[in-house]
């Protein structure tokens, strides 16, 4: 499959790196200096304007199945998609950085031949919102239209889940611990595995079961309103605040160092307290009692300051710290120094684009732990013999998290059977993903 990418920035290069092994990738960028980043990638690099018909022709646009416009300029992206659509008929994906371009009720960008508009900041805000609103959890996802939820927790020293073999743990029915991450290693636990303090665990289950799980894991935290502090009122901060304002149980404040931007935030937001100050100023954080927040979200446009603000928050005693990371290389570093969740807008966008491009029979629902694990939705092949789960030789490092059959979700135990035609949600490590797909669906990438 030929994929043309206009824009060789971080999103472009990250996409190219992931897609190049399996696909013909052509990257177009007018900046010669960018080319250096692509020398290690098995993709073609063309220096030229993505809005030039001639350049796109050289990139082989007429044979391309996908066209991704991800330069830093919204207008360039839109025009590039429109031109690509005029010469050939690839699926066009257009990245924008402002809400104005998102398809409203009119779907006004369709007439430019754009199939999908993507606003990475909004995606990130949506991701952060899920994490923020799941009490105690450090990551949260929803699958299959909401019938299955996934939560990730970090176990404290006092947790009741510690020190007992998993087989004997009394977790709610319809919930399942699908993975444990211990000291940078992620594995699928067995019945004999014992959890330790400091482990991160990933649990899947039905929404009702997950409510019980939440209650069981967060025995300490009582009810009441969720106090959320956002540091940084940029696009992500504003978008996140607007989303969180919808929930009436959230008390929100947002710290912004630019007074002009602060005025704008205060004008747009109705229930949020907008404070004008530097999120890395310890005295200011203390005077506003930031330490008593339940969640601290740092979305400043600068990794170093973000890290500093997050660490200050942690020092002040905030139980959950979520941080935006711009440079993907910093993701792991951030989590290593004690930040609960590090997320990147580009990561969210890349995952979303990859999802669209490599869709097919398996759908990649989520990428967890910075690519180490993923959740796949598979349709079980027709010649699969129905067998109880415990009799299946599932590939190692993979676990069936849910069976979707006749509109209901089953979180399976060993006795449940997988039948041909079922749709299943499989949790797997990165390495096992292909084998899992081959095993259940008979096709691999």
């Amino acid at each position: 499959m030929r994929i043309v990418i206009v824009g060789g920035g971080q999103i472009g290069s990250s996409l190219a790196r992931t897609l190049a092994p399996d696909h013909e990738v052509v990257v177009v960028d007018h900046d010669r200096a960018v080319a250096d980043a692509f020398t290690a990638i098995d993709a073609e690099f063309i220096v030229g304007s993505g809005t030039s018909e001639e350049v796109l022709g050289r990139a082989g646009i007429e044979r391309a199945q996908f066209f991704v416009a991800c330069t830093g300029l919204d207008e360039v992206n839109i025009v590039a998609c429109a031109i690509a659509n005029r010469i050939a008929s690839p699926e066009t994906i257009c990245l924008v950085s402002r809400a104005d371009f998102l398809p409203g009720s009119q779907g006004h960008l369709e007439q430019f031949g754009i199939n999908r508009v993507l606003w990475p900041e909004a995606q990130l805000a949506a991701d952060i919102e899920r994490v923020v609103t799941a009490p105690g959890a450090i990551d949260a996802e929803v699958f299959a239209g909401g019938v299955i939820r996934l939560l990730e927790y970090r176990l404290g020293a006092g947790s009741s889940l510690i020190g007992v073999p998993l087989g004997q743990l009394r977790l709610p029915r319809r919930s399942l611990i699908v993975a444990v991450k211990r000291a940078a290693r992620l594995f699928v636990p067995r019945g004999t595995t014992m959890l330790e303090a400091g482990d991160k665990i990933i649990i899947m289950g039905t929404p009702e079961a997950m409510l019980e799980v939440e209650a069981q894991v967060n025995q300490a935290r009582g009810g009441g309103r969720l106090k959320v502090t956002i540091i940084g009122g940029g696009d992500v901060g504003l978008e996140l605040a607007e989303r969180l304002e919808q929930a009436s149980t959230v008390d929100l404040r947002i710290l912004e160092s630019d007074p002009g931007r602060g005025e704008l935030l205060a004008a747009r937001l109705t229930r949020t307290l907008v404070l004008n100050g530097d999120g890395t100023d310890l005295a200011f954080l203390e005077s506003e009692d930031v330490g008593r927040s339940d969640v601290l979200v740092c979305v400043i446009d600068n990794d170093e300051r973000n890290l500093l603000a997050s660490l200050l928050g942690r020092q002040l005693g905030v139980p959950k710290v979520v941080t935006r990371v711009s440079r993907p290389a910093n993701l792991r570093l951030f989590e290593r120094v004690g930040i609960d969740v590090a997320l990147s807008a580009r990561g969210a966008a890349v995952a979303s684009i990859l999802h669209q491009i490599t869709g097919g029979t398996s759908r990649l629902l989520a990428v967890l732990e910075h690519g180490e694990a993923r959740v796949l939705e598979l349709t079980v092949k027709k010649d699969f013999t129905a067998t109880p789960l415990k009799g299946i030789g599932t590939p190692e490092d993979a676990i069936v998290g849910a069976i979707l059959r006749d509109g209901t979700a089953i979180v399976p135990r060993g006795d449940d059977r997988i039948e041909p035609g079922d749709r299943i949600l499989v949790f797997s490590t990165r390495e096992a993903a292909d084998r899992v797909q081959a095993y259940f669906s008979g096709t691999g990438n």
């Binding site: 005025e263 109705t270 404070l275 100050g277």
Partner: protein, 494 residues
Amino acid sequence: MRFSLVTHVTGIVVRVFGLMFLAPLAVALCYREYSDAAAFALSGVVTTLVGHAMRHAGGKAAEDAIEGMRRVEGLAIVSAAWLLIAWFAAMPYLWAGLGPIDAMFESMSGLTTTGATVLRDFSQYGRGLFFWRSMTQWLGGMGVIALFVAVLPRLAIGGREIFFAEASGPDDEKVSPQIRRTAALLWRLYAALTVMQTIALRLAGMSWYDAVSHSFTTLAAGGFSPHPLSIAGYQSAAIEWVIIVFMFIAGANFALQYRALAKRDFRLLSSDEELRVYAGVVLAATGFLSIAIWRLGAPGDVVRTALFQVLSIITTTGFASVDFQLWNDQAKAILLGLMFIGGCAGSAAGGPKVVRHILLAKSTLQELRRTLHPRAILPVKLGNRVVPAHIVQGVVVFFLFYMLMFAICAAIVVLLGADLVTGISATAATLGNVGPGFNSVGPMGHFADLHPISRIVLTFAMWIGRLEVITVLVILRPEAWRAGRWSSSPSAHT
């Protein structure tokens, strides 16, 4: 400030006002009141001639300068025009035998839609004069100047400044980007509502003459009635209900009503913060007032009377469906409080306006929050829009001056011999353009017994109240008079 320009434009306004005398002239002729007819004809001729002379006194220079009218000149024109028009409108009263102070009081009370009267005996005066009295309120309700901006091509451009100088409320809200069209559309809506109310009142049992007179003074939130006992003289629940409905409309923002009608989107009304607060205050006050006068009649009558009286006072109309002078002090306290609220901005109502109270309350709350969070950015919002800081500040200043004017005028009236309740209520009722107060200036009483100087002071209170205090006070600043000397170029207009 360029006096030639101010004289010129004021002249234009006064000259057209002369034509207004044709209406009462026709009515007087209809009822064969020939003496009054002569008064109206004479007043009309004098007004037109004076206006014409003033127009030409400005000369060619003023005619050219009109497009570069400055804000301070707009304020001066509006203030001057209102005073002059009130003077000319007083001529028929002079003819009918009132003294100059009383004639001016009655005329100003009409144009400012106050509804306070100095007439002792209604039977002495003809129908033509009562028609004129109601009509001045109708003209003043939506704004005489706004009417002339709408109809006079000469004011198409310079009209902008004078339109906003006269409009009520802190926000300059428009229904069309063109000021002339805005004025015309609002006047059309106002006239249509007047016709509707006239028909409704006729159906409820009034004569055509009474129906027209009361529609004029209801929609203007004025309160003059040709009947000496006001609405209480008709003893009709149907009439009271019709007037209740139209008083509520007169106290609501006409621009908002126009937009809701034009777009057929009545959620605009229900989502408007000021209108909601206005309705809420009316309901709450009606509840409290009903309790205060519960024993005075059958429950249905009590609630209707309470609602009528609350609307009459909060919209600053000033009709009386009963003699509320006879009520207890608790009920009077509620009514006095309502005098300091007023209707919505952009309505025909006077008083400080609901929206100013909302802004004042919100800005006070934000100041309290600021003590807790010194670094917080706390804009004052109305609906979902941020109200600019200078407007909020203007509101605070407005209240300061409003209360200052109130204190000064009330002190003068009381010092000149009125009792305390009379002095305070008379001042609140004239400054807020309400009309009747309590005790000797109650709904069945009149202002004629006050000291002559008190009557002059209250005439000024009406004028200042209608033009929302600041408009008048600004032109009293020496700076406003000097400005023209060193910035005389028309392009200095902002």
